[in-house]
Amino acid sequence: MQKPFYIDDLDALREKLSRAKRDGSLMGRVRDSVMRRSRNAPENFPWFTPFTALVTGEKKDIENAKESIRGYLKTLDPQTFGMGLQFHFWCFAFPHARWSLYFHWLCEMGAWDAAEEKKIKEELLTFQYINFFYGMRTKPEPECVDNQTMSLCFSNALLGHLFNETAMAKRMYDDGIRRLPSLIGGIPTSGYSGEGSTYMDYVVGPSIPFIVELLERTESGDWFCKSLPPHGGSAESVCRMIAREWMPNGLLLPWDHYGYVIPMRSCIAFAASRSEDPFYSELLERQANWSYDQSIGWGYDDLIWSLIWWPEKKQKRAKFASWHEPEVGAALVSEDSQLYLMQMWDESTPVYPTRAHVNPNSLILSAYGSPLMIDGVVDKKCTDFNFDDTWREVSYMDIGTSRKFNFGAGCGGAHSVILVDNWQGMRASKEYRQAEMIEFSQKEKSVMADVTPIYREKLSDVKMIRRRSRLCCERFWLIEDLAIFAEEHDVSARFFFRPNLIKSKQGVTLETNEGVRLSLIPIIGPDKKTCKTIKGYPERLDGESLMIDFKQKGKECRWLWLAWPEATRKINTDVSEGWQAVPDPTGKLEISEVKFDANAVEVPLTIPPYLQRDLPVVRRWWFKREINIPKETSWLRLPKQMLNLRVWLNGKELDVSEHKIRMNLMEPEIRIPDKLLGKKVEIVLCCDTGYSQYASDGNGGGGFYGKPVILVGQDAPGVEKAEYRDGMVIVKSGNQEFKVKHKLMDF
């Protein structure tokens, strides 16, 4: 055995994983879940097979890994005729680099005969040279700093290093490695690339460990902490920002493009191994979803690299904390992590804001585990943001056809911001500093930012547009908006909330499917408003949102908002244990045919059974257990991502279709019919799991994740009084009264 690249000490890695297995630690359970899928269904989990071969060194595992690589090689030529490889080559470059790395691992293990090794090496190198060296040379140096160029430069540098006995490899290495430092250094010091949480977490973040470790092995020195030119970015600041994008509700901030997603883990594992900050370990050990999977850098090996980078050191527990980055935004978090507010003012892309959206002082709120506001992208049917001035047609993205699309969802009108004169397609037309943070106080949990410039570009009489947010008494938020002009203007304060709107005397009140309410009440400023349901925005979560516009007209327009969250449900019983599980290999069983007998295994309903034990990796599973339902109104909370879920209570099927989209991101809470309250109920569930990384119904190999519980209602008295008097905000709810000093923003 030589040295598999990136694994300095294979024996140490094997020992770490064996120890974790012996100890029954989370790392050990994740290791087991990976190995089980890899060994029981290698054809469904090809990305796991090289790692399994490396860890076990067993002949069968090595053969599986070789087959995965042979399979990949067979796709290369047909891929050439797709618009993906031709126009979006970076998506292919990053996985090509990792398949090449896995091939190299197997070479180091002596897995190939000489002829096959030579043939594959030449094939991988040639494909790299004609596609991704070509792709890298298309991206302007040094101007292009994004996930695409990072993928291309990394792939050239890595292959170049791995196969450096050839001249082509050396040529690719030289150009790739030269550009890598400036791709990290080209990211602002905030660590935020501007491309949105999805690209940050799924491409930029996962590439950081690969790049840092490659640079350290080839150029020496510490490349994790080093601040690099041209903008002073560092790998550490990128990791820190990615960790900050994790919200206490289990999702990433729906920042800029794409919207809410479930966080990935390998970048966090790497940061935990390199940093003393205990928050990384907190995310890794307690917050991460280990059943979910999605391609990182267009390959399904996030779990593999999480295991490789995962440190054994025990860190003290950390909690979510408020943060600020003057260039991009700030978050205010309550001590118990239940209340979360993020205010953003990151720069948007001028002219075509498709990735870095126009979101000057837009807000994201979350309370008691439930996201309350939305952002993201629209589904194909949604036309609400197809503004007249935001159409674009391009011919460089597809073969044989042009693509016409509307980028309105990236503009101001699709965000929770102040709109002036109803310019919904609000965006910058050139580069300039669009916003500035005015104040942030960790102690006061307060943040204020000025976003005047992006409004002033079109409306020269704009004197000031600012928003200040505060988390008060660890219980509610105050949000103040101020817009001042030389002339009179129509001003809207636009908010995008999750459904559903419920009746309220003042302002608006919504209640999410998780039973969390939010009342938004204008304490100062008019309550004149319109409300519209936007179907298809966002395309994720509920698949719709409430667009609320509060309106006023004048030279000085001000609102002071009370945002009051309340949980209306609480956990009554943990029902995660003791579920009988039956596989349905054909996926065709009817409930009457499912044999819940002595042969059925009993598992906790927290992750798919085949992740917990050596069971068949099949798509469809049935589950059953009895539950005592409380006498009061009750809900059954189930894990998220139980695909195509069906539920029977005492043999009668419930309609759970309303949860279908939402449960990709959130644990569904299913109302128990009143007639079953206070009774022992037999619950049968049928769902599909992510049984394959590439099957069209395989969900990327990601399974369900969560903890079934029974919930019951709890008091939510709402806001009885909210007023501003003598510099003081007074809020009364139930038997509680809050008084908060609040100095209004002035000009």
Binding site: T75, F87, H88, C91, F92, P95, T138, P140, A167
Partner: protein
Amino acid sequence: MNSTFDMMEYCAANATKKDDASFKKILTCLSDDNWRVRYAAAIALGDRKDPNAVDALVQVLDNEDKAPLFSQPKLEGGAHAGSNVPFSVIFPKGTTEATKEAWRRRGRLIQAACLALGNIGKTSPKALEKLHRYTTDQKCDYSVRAASCKALGQLASPESLPILEKATKDEEWCTSCEARKAVKKILK
């Protein structure tokens, strides 16, 4: 040196040499039947910066202009990036292997030749004419347009200014970015 890989390797291995023998051999590779070898040769000639390669590179562009590089229709079939699941694509009836090869390479060889011309830094009227045309030709992939803008910036000929200024308005970012840089270089 028989295989395609060996010939590509030869070009790369001799990309920084100065001797005549290897130069001639790379020029031979530039007219090889296999475009991968021609591509590797063009890159190597750019790295060698030998002005004697300009005419041969222009000849490559002439040949590429006659090939059906960008004529591929959208084809049925496809797979995820990085996938190892077998799949095939369905070609229109009568598609020849030569056409498939053209569709495989699209703008790769043109890009390599354009960048090589830019690197060499000496040009000919015919080379300039080609580069000017690629700069704004929307029938070419953006990799070609961006490469020709970059090359024109390196060649820094004032007569390229009008076409480059037009290219600064290209819808595609890499192209407009390279065009802006090229304009700056020429005006410097």
